[in-house]
Symmetry: C2
Subunit: 258 residues, 2 copies
């Protein structure tokens, strides 16, 4: 059993952007005319023209710009607004696909039930959510130690309950998100040690923002990758912007999401 689903954006209760029309718009973008696009899709010119007309009249801003007559008989181009819509639709569709994939994974056909263990349409407050690969799993009865490799090559360890690992169907090679609350990331001078340990990550302080009690420190750790740490202001008196610093994270404080 698989889960199938369409994604339609409506405007004033009427279908506005749907998969077929998106395909058509991409073809128009590529070929510069409705008639050529219709041939490629394929669909009848009339349907194509009507689709474009409906979209344009539903949209607050034109999506395509048509010219009749002229050098090559005219043509049709996608407006900037239209291009932004296409990009956005692609993002939405990707998120939607992800959702469906997870939904499919949780369906249990044998007994006609779906094991929805926890909510999984969830946006989480944590500032640090890093894409990572599970490269090793160490099980004990209660806990589970995950070795993670981030996109920039960095290695991290995460401790979660065994139960949690099973619910997420974690296995070596699985791509997950390492989720860390910013106050669980400790930022100190590179020369420091915390509990006898060197920092897991190094980087440059990009920005410090303080109020009386707390400070937010944004650290650039390279590869166009930023880490947000929140510390009490009196603990970071010896830190300045542009300084090279170390970041410490307790494996206990790394949540896993997928």
């Amino acid at each position: 059993m698989t889960v199938a689903s369409t994604l339609t954006l409506e405007m004033l209760g009427k279908p506005f952007l749907l998969e077929k029309r998106i395909v058509l718009l991409h073809a128009i973008q590529e070929h510069g005319s409705i008639s050529k696009a219709a041939k490629v899709v394929p669909m009848s010119y009339k349907s194509a023209w009507e689709a474009v007309d409906i979209m344009n009249s539903l949209s607050p801003e034109p999506i395509v710009y048509t010219e009749t007559g002229g050098k090559d008989g005219g043509g049709t181009t996608i407006t900037d607004y239209g291009e932004r819509l296409l990009k956005s639709y692609a993002l939405l569709k990707e998120e939607h696909s992800r959702f469906l994939e997870r939904l499919s994974e949780l369906t249990d056909i044998d007994n006609g039930t779906f094991k929805t263990i926890e909510r999984f349409t969830l946006q989480v407050s944590a500032r640090n959510q890093w894409y990572a690969n599970v490269i090793h799993i160490d099980y004990s009865d209660v806990e589970c130690i995950l070795s993670l490799k981030l996109k920039n090559g960095l290695l991290l360890e995460s401790h979660i309950t065994r139960e949690a690992a099973e619910n997420l169907s974690l296995e070596v090679g699985r791509e997950v998100f390492a989720i860390i609350k910013s106050n669980a990331i400790h930022c100190r001078r590179l020369s420091c040690q915390i509990q006898g340990k060197d920092p897991q990550i190094e980087g440059f302080i990009e920005k410090i923002q303080s109020d009386k009690g707390l400070s937010k420190i944004v650290v650039d750790v390279g590869s166009n990758f930023r880490v947000v740490s929140v510390m009490s202001t009196d603990k970071i008196k010896d830190l300045n912007e542009d300084m090279r610093v170390g970041l410490w994270i307790d494996p206990q404080d790394i949540l896993i999401g997928r």
Copy 2:
């Protein structure tokens, strides 16, 4: 602009369960016959019969049981398997609706973009995910202190970055999830204090599971509500099952999801 989407379960690549058929099945469940159900929906008897026939032949187990002739001319009833499917579909649909709602919220029509800030089709490892209501928000430049009221009336405080609160569009009255890793929940005898504070929550130990280093403690806090805590085994030597205990949670360790 709103996001619309259908939810269809397929079997062997053919539509199996779709909204219309689910409605029909519910009507059959209520009225005990295809013909009455068809009148109620409303749809033609033939379509209804065909829908039922297709579902039954696609399903690995019969979804409905039909009788022809007899006392009241026969009738149609939903099998246990069918009822389980209906319940499961409802769960899926709810999750799907949640997803669409969030997706709609993140669409920004003015400039034709969608602000997908973070991944939000995310299942998170944390064992404790509690439904809560935001009853107060206290902002500073960096941080944001949320007062949360759980379904069972319990009050909790959560500290997250201001940025995070803004990204989640948090406001008073908003329903969210308080997400807490089990090793951030400290379980001690009721008489104890941690950093001079009484426990936020009380409950009975339902189960303790230990390996050499760590123990998982499941605490029943009433209202059919369970909390999972993971502590080092040597710290809970004075705890037993059925004992009444206190639970301490650092507001820093409570993530917010929605």
